[in-house]
Amino acid sequence: MIKQSIISVVLLIIAIALPLVTGQNPYITGILISVLMMATLASAWNIVGGYAGQFSFGHAAYFGSGAYTTMIMISVFNSNPLLGMVLGIVVACLIALVTGSIVFRLRGHYFALASIAVAEIVRLTVLNLEFTGGAQGILLTDVTFFSLDLNSKNPFYYGMLLTLALTLAITAWFHKSKTGYYLQAIREDQDAAASLGINIAFYKNKSLLISAALTSIVGSIYAVYIRFIDTHAVLDLSLSIEIILTAIIGGVGTLWGPLLGAVLLVPLAEMLRSNILGDALFRLGVVSESSAIGMFLKDGLAHAHVLVYGIITVLCILYLPKGILGFFRRGK
């Protein structure tokens, strides 16, 4: 336990200091923000998906709630982004409550399917409403937040870092508390859990609400950071799936697993997308850009980052069913 506290403090100091090193390079800072964002999303999902074992495939709905509520509040009412964030949490919690009260009666695969259905309803509703910008989305030209320079990426980096720290702190507290034990009991065997006095519906909803609120905060920060959202960017099923994959590959039901998953997967995806491997080989003169291998690297592999991502996922599921962290803990 002391070891874990030391690791957390060291990691936090490194994370706080990191922009001082990379501050001059907005590209790197951008990737770091993506890492923090996915780490927070996967960690928040982990509370309901990993600990309570309820595989929600609809977390994009909560992310979108935060993003859309914040953007609408800023663009229409010219409000402080913070107010938008708070209202976003309220909207996400309302959706979570409605979802939970209907969908938590179902178990296992049916819960997963129903959560997709609810998220799709949210997506289609937003797509067809007037005040959400429909298919055009919402573009923000100017935004102010107290006296922070929002043209720099650093405020967003620290905003995401704060949310990640909050999410991990809540998870760590859960890990040792009655609620954490109860969520895990529900995951392991719902009937046994009920026979031990656990109010199943209450604890499932509690975990979903906390998870949805945290996810919504990330959505709010993301929206102000990118300054443009549409249903494809913030409400798509693919976002929900990416969150789940990150958590699974890192290790569900563990404190650090989702963070580890994001630290490994986000830069990997970025490397594949920007074709770092191909560029390096061209620059070193190992492969000619016009040769067959060069063509493959440039046109094939660079466009295949989703495929590579998928293959890694399949390999992880086959050989590391408890995630990377679970694999290393197996010896204990």
């Binding site: 009937d191 046994a192 859990a193 026979s195 031990l196 006095g197 656990i198």
Partner: protein, 242 residues
């Protein structure tokens, strides 16, 4: 009704056209060890599921400690002081043995430290104190049954429903479990006990109800039950005379 811990009042349970439990009545007194026996398909486990809130009854009343419980959820029934074990054990496999029992203990406390202390006591009571750190899924069946007992006892129940707690155990293991059950009764817990093993039942129970095809066939002391010709017929078939 004073003195009755549990009162089953004309309980019926139908699954569609199937009558699983038909007009069953009996009462369990405080600190009794009460046996519920009968051939396969007699409706014993169904009745347990009705009592503990897993199935709604079709008609009738279940009164526990002066409180009608047949509309309550399983977790509410547990918090009223009635805990159960499962015929097919349900360990929380990926949690440790100690954590399993702690989950039970959280029914009466919010503090992890207190829950852990209670859990360690219950593990000691069933002789599992050495296995605390093992994953519950890794235990052999005999120890899993003991874990079930420790876990339900950690919820501090007034009454314990045990569904074939000796099922699948050998003679020595059965003896240890029966010994634990006697100790639990001495701690003031009332016990209702489903069992196939007639020897186990008659050696430990104060009173027995026999179910057959969902109906109550007989009720009495172990001596009365073992000498009841109808019970013998139900167990051994019509053509035998014991």
């Amino acid at each position: 009704m004073i003195g009755h811990m549990l009162h089953i009042n004309h309980v019926n349970k139908h699954f569609g056209g199937n009558v699983a439990v038909s007009d069953v009545c009996f009462s369990v007194e405080e600190k009794q060890i009460f046996g519920l026996i009968g051939p396969n398909g007699a409706g014993k486990t169904t009745l347990f599921n009705c009592i503990t809130g897993y199935f709604p009854v079709t008609s009738g009343e279940i009164i526990f400690n002066g409180c009608i419980i047949n509309k309550k959820r399983p977790d509410e029934v547990c918090r009223l002081g009635m805990a159960r074990t499962w015929q097919r054990v349900k360990p929380l496999c990926n949690l440790s043995v100690l954590e399993n029992v702690m989950v039970g203990a959280f029914a009466s406390t919010n503090s992890p430290r207190k829950a852990e202390a209670m859990a360690r006591e219950e593990l000691e009571a069933v002789g599992l104190e050495k296995y605390g750190d093992k994953p519950a899924g890794s235990l052999p069946i005999g120890l899993k049954k003991k874990l079930e007992l420790a876990r339900v006892m950690a919820t501090s129940p007034k009454m314990l429903l045990l569904d074939e707690i000796c099922g699948g155990l050998n003679h020595t293991e059965t003896e240890t479990i029966l010994e634990i059950i006697r100790k639990l009764r001495n701690r003031g817990v009332t016990i209702v006990f489903i069992e196939h093993d007639m020897k186990a039942v008659t050696s430990i129970c104060d009173r027995i109800v026999v179910l057959n095809s969902g109906e109550k066939l007989a009720e009495g002391t172990p001596e009365e039950i073992t000498s009841n010709p109808e019970v013998i017929t139900a167990y051994l078939g019509g053509s035998h005379h014991a």
